[in-house]
């Protein structure tokens, strides 16, 4: 059978004939639709169905919940589908067998499977069979609201003893949460915020340091940006990382000045950047056509004076001191004697008056910074790049930045509203129904590629996994960013791309490009160790019907239906040399997953 076959909305009948045989089943109607709780129902009407006949879905024996003459209703878990396609096999005791491929419908859905898949690439760590149905059932906005309420995934408890402070359990838990956790959107946003408010294990490499920091990001992902600014500023791990903890006021007699590290980075990398921005993210230009700086060295020095006088929180059970020993739970506390109480001129002529406490100075400075017109476009650009596309149009940035500036209730900095704006914007959703312009999309960063592929394959993942070392070999050693500038610069422009942004390309090197393909190999050929189980049965079943269906399942499940015939042909030709459907499923999955048509999501 070399002809192309299309799967239409209802069903496709594929009857395997080995000559006309008695006991042959003829399907008259075949429908599949998603129920709730991760199951779907197959209803078929057939002639020639014998008593004791078996209806199998996904190659496994499925529960027959009702059987009457000619009509069978079968319930199966949604994981027996791939890309919304399932294989139904009806086998009579006398031996006649019929197989059909059916697309699972979602009754009442206004969202197509392609749109749902694209959406979950942006709003989750990629679609899983279950989440695909859920989005189709709820629609985007209700799914997002449900995500706002989803229980938080946590990190392991911090060990007491010094010898057990490795970050490996945190790295492993990150992937466990990504593949299994319910709070998908929160995790994506928290990870995006981590890549802005970077803390690196290269300097703060103990679990007692990283865990509170990561939990804070997780907790504040849907809060207000000003709250995030304040909590991050007072986070002891951030204080250690950027030298704000135990930073004291100047001592001119000794030539000591406050440390400027945090003051510089909070402006440059966390809130406003180095040049003034329009609402749409483009740089403001002066009369000579040059960008306008946001701050100068004086601003940094004065902001450094603001951030003086903070020390670690007191360790429980020990008396508080002017300089507390290292302790990472809670917020830093102020020792007023070490705080510079002079007047300080900050951005744009704003002056903090003399004589204030450390906390008042900090609040005033952060509030003023928060209201800088740059913050909206700054945050908008970064969240859009993290979730949707590396090169949003200025109009898209402006729309999201406007929501940052004022959500529907007039509140500034509401991350829930900003995230909704990022995901529901027409530019984010355009690709649901049509091809995007050539510069669209972004390369999945290693964590997203790894978690996304496993979710798409419906893989099961245990906590004791080896995924962190894969991410590291692809250039993203989780929680060990090379510097405060993140695993890769959020402003990276590949030299070959003529001015386009593509941050993730900074770690796409000759070596990591191969390692990505090798990861696809490891997934498909079960080389990820006992912690990962990938069940290719749905794909094997599709291959057993016809290899075209295998490519079509992968097309829908991994490429949102945009596999072109050139790619399909290459895969089909390769499959001609492979006899066994299991081996075919592996080979075809490898070819799609390793391709950059999958790894660049668009």
């Amino acid at each position: 059978m070399g002809a192309k076959m299309k799967v239409c909305g209802c069903f496709l009948l594929v009857t395997l004939l080995a000559g006309a045989r008695p006991g042959e089943v003829v399907l008259k109607r075949l429908e599949a639709s998603a129920g709730s709780g991760g199951a779907f129902f197959v209803e078929l009407q057939a002639d020639g169905l014998e008593p004791g006949g078996v209806v199998r879905v996904g190659g496994k024996q499925a529960v027959v919940s009702e059987a009457s003459s000619g009509r069978v209703l079968v319930e199966a878990p949604i994981k027996f589908t791939f890309g919304g396609l399932a294989v139904v096999e009806v086998r009579n005791p006398s031996g006649g067998t019929t197989r059909a491929v059916v697309e699972v419908q979602v009754p009442g859905s206004v969202v197509s499977w392609r749109a749902a898949a694209r959406f979950l690439e942006q709003a989750a760590w990629g679609p899983s069979p279950e989440s695909l149905v859920r989005v189709r059932q709820l629609g985007f906005e209700r799914w997002i609201e449900e995500q706002f309420q989803a229980p938080l995934s946590d990190y392991p408890p911090v060990p007491e003893d010094d010898a057990s402070q490795s970050l490996t359990p945190l790295q492993r838990r990150f992937f466990f949460n990504a593949v299994n956790g319910e709070d998908q959107l929160r995790q994506r946003v928290a990870f995006a915020l981590h890549q802005i408010w970077v803390v690196s294990g290269l300097k703060t490499g103990q679990a007692r340091m990283m865990t509170p920091y990561l939990r804070l990001l997780q907790r504040l992902a849907f809060d207000n940006y000003l709250t995030l600014m304040k909590e991050m500023t007072l986070n002891p791990t951030m204080g250690r990382y950027l030298d704000m903890v135990n930073n004291v006021k100047a001592n001119p007699a000794r030539g000591i000045s406050p440390n400027e590290n945090y003051a510089r980075e909070i402006m440059q990398l966390f809130t406003i950047g180095t040049v003034r921005l329009n609402l749409d993210g483009t740089p403001v230009l002066d009369d000579d056509g040059l960008p306008v700086p946001t701050y100068n060295q004086r601003t940094i020095e004065n902001l450094a004076r603001v951030f003086t006088g903070w020390t670690y929180p007191p360790t429980p059970g020990r008396p508080p001191a002017a300089t507390n020993p290292a302790y990472y739970e809670g917020r830093m506390v102020a020792t007023e004697a070490n705080h510079d109480t002079g007047a300080k001129e900050l951005l744009d002529g704003y002056v903090i008056p003399a004589g204030q406490t450390a906390e008042k100075d900090l609040d005033d400075a952060l509030t003023h910074l928060f209201h800088h017109p740059n913050v909206g476009p700054f945050v908008a650009q970064r969240l859009i790049r993290a979730l949707v596309t590396s090169n949003p149009s200025p109009a898209y940035v402006a729309r999201v930045a406007s929501v940052f500036n004022a959500n529907p209730r007039g509140v500034r900095g509401d991350l829930k509203s900003v995230v909704k704006a990022v995901l529901l914007d027409p530019e984010a959703r355009r690709g649901d129904t049509q091809d995007n312009p050539p510069e669209s999309g972004h390369l999945r960063e290693p964590a997203l590629y790894i978690a996304g592929l496993l979710r798409a394959m419906g893989a099961s993942l245990a906590e004791a996994n080896t995924l962190p070392s894969w991410a590291s070999s692809m250039g993203q050693n989780l929680f060990f960013a090379p510097s405060v500038f993140n695993y890769y610069s959020l402003l990276y422009q590949p030299p070959e791309m003529d001015g386009l942004f593509a941050p993730e390309f900074e770690i796409l090197t000759p070596a990591t490009a191969l390692i990505r393909a090798n990861f696809a190999d490891a997934v498909v050929y079960q080389r990820l160790g006992p912690a990962v189980t990938v069940d290719l049965t749905p794909l094997i079943e599709l291959a057993a019907v016809h290899k075209w269906y295998l490519t079509e399942g992968l097309n829908r499940g991994l490429l949102y239906g945009r596999m072109d015939e050139a790619m399909r042909d290459r895969i089909l030709v390769a499959l001609d040399s492979i006899a066994d459907p299991g081996a075919q499923a592996q080979a075809a999955t490898y070819l799609v997953a390793s391709s950059y048509r999958y790894q660049v999501k668009d």
Binding site: L202, K203, G205, N251, R254, G255, I256, S257, E260, N261, R264, T274, V275, L290, P291, P293, N296, S390, D435, N436, P438, E439, S440, L443, P482, S483, F485, P494, P495, E496, M497, L500, A502, F505, E506, L508, T509, P510, A511, A513, L514, A517, N518, Y525, R570, V573, A574, D576, S577, I578, A583, A587, Y590, L591, S594, S595, Y596, R597, V600, D602
Partner: protein, 435 residues
């Protein structure tokens, strides 16, 4: 200091230049140069690497080091401008190269903001590098040439940015350390052992059919710019993987034997890559190798010994290989480490974190057989001792050390100021140990 506007103009101009200058500049003749940084992670105890043998100095050494002192008979004698020193007993090759004037000692070099005296340190009268005795901070500062440790590029990468082109301009055998990252240059990361290659394909018909499809899919036209660019990089990855596999596995084209140690194997790989420089279209290269384990808080004498031996064997073989290739005057190898260690012992017969350290520079272009900089007065609470435990306030800054190397490598004066922002605080800016 450049204003942001000037920086922006510079960046735009640089971007244009970079696009224009993507073709490798193959100079007339063999105008090849390579810098090889060997980073000793952990803080090498320089006090036992080069020991003063002048009578009073050696007494100060013995008295200060106590149980950590090496015996005079065990040390390998060298002479620096008339003053006797002794190298660690295992540094036989380095002694030989030093006596042949192919190696030099750079004394008491470390991170400084500006020239600093012991009293200024003790009375907190001078600005100091941040977190002076912290491994991570000092490693970062050594690699970035930034006493604040803020820079996200290393001076190796910044040198390569200015003088080198091509995929192999900056090569690291020790991972993606900050040292090897420039503004423009991305390091070629070479693993010890098999180079990164595509896995999962055997010679069966099935696998070859899949491989064929994989390669063809990488060549497919695609409207999407990001897909096209990624495909390009992946194809480049395959090519480089094949080249590196050919060059770095199997028998070396060089006859010089290398020790099969961690550092020996890295130096072997570097030598093979230098050998293949024309094929790799490389005329200027910066290499980064490393050896860890130098953090000798416990049992210094016993633990230091095998590492010194490994260092000696690897550096000796590497120099020999450069002679074999006729490039001995084109390659300069230099050591680096985040700090020295205390002169005196702790309670575990080890030494703790120090500051100013002594390093070796090796190559036929080195004006060797000499000591550059000022060897500290080896005495607890002496004029060079910052803390009372024999922690030397550096008298030569990392910036001067690096700038001398960079200048030989081809970075011009204005480039040096950009690569080493702190260099202006120090004189002389070129220490003069290279031709």
């Amino acid at each position: 200091m450049l204003t942001r506007r000037e920086l922006f103009r510079f960046a735009t101009a640089m971007a244009a230049w970079q696009r224009f200058a993507r073709l490798p500049v193959l100079a007339q003749g063999d105008d090849y140069r390579a810098l090889v940084c060997v980073f000793l992670f952990g803080g090498n105890d320089s006090n036992n690497t080069i020991v003063p043998l002048e009578a009073a100095a050696f007494r100060g050494y013995q008295s200060g080091r106590g149980t950590l002192a090496l015996t005079q008979q065990s040390l390998l004698p060298i002479e620096a401008q008339g003053t006797p020193y002794g190298l660690h007993p295992r540094l036989t090759e380095i002694q030989r190269l030093y006596n042949q004037r192919r190696a030099a000692v750079i004394a008491n070099v470390g991170l400084l903001v500006r020239p600093t005296t012991r009293d200024e340190y003790r009375q907190r009268l001078a600005p100091l590098p941040v977190n002076l005795f912290s491994h991570s901070d000092q490693q970062l500062q050594w690699q970035c040439a930034d006493p604040r440790g803020d820079a996200r590029t290393g001076w190796g990468g910044r040198i390569a940015d200015r003088v080198a082109q091509g995929d192999f301009a900056m090569v690291s055998l020790a991972g993606n350390a900050t040292y090897v990252n420039g503004e423009r240059v991305r390091p070629m990361l070479v693993n010890l052992g098999a180079p990164t290659s595509l896995t999962g394909f055997s010679n069966t018909r099935e696998h070859q059919a899949r491989l064929q499809a994989f390669l063809e899919i990488l060549e497919l036209e695609d409207q999407r710019i990001l897909v096209r660019t990624a495909n390009l990089r992946a194809r480049q990855g395959l090519r480089i993987s094949q080249v590196l596999t050919r060059l770095l596995t199997g028998t070396s084209p060089l006859k010089t034997p290398f020790p099969a140690t961690t550092l020996g194997r890295q130096m072997d790989q570097i030598a093979r890559l230098i050998y293949a420089r024309r094929e790799l279209a490389a005329t200027r290269q910066v290499f980064f190798a490393s050896l860890g384990g130098w953090d000798h808080h416990v049992s210094l004498l016993a633990s230091h010994d095998p590492l010194m031996s490994q260092l000696n064997g690897a550096l000796g073989a590497f120099y020999q290989a450069t002679e074999e290739m006729g490039l001995a005057d084109r390659v300069v190898t230099f050591t680096a480490s985040e700090f020295n260690r205390t002169l005196n012992a702790n309670s575990n017969a080890g030494s703790d974190h120090g500051w100013g350290a002594h390093h070796f520079v090796i190559g036929a272009a080195v004006k060797g057989g000499m000591l550059y900089g000022t060897y500290p007065v080896v005495a607890l609470n002496g004029p060079d001792d910052a803390t009372g435990r024999g922690v030397w306030v550096p008298t030569t800054s990392l910036d001067q050390y690096g700038a001398t190397l960079a200048s030989w490598f081809g970075v011009r004066a204005d480039g040096l100021r950009a690569v080493f922002p702190n260099l202006a605080n120090f004189q002389p800016q070129n220490l003069g140990f290279l031709d």
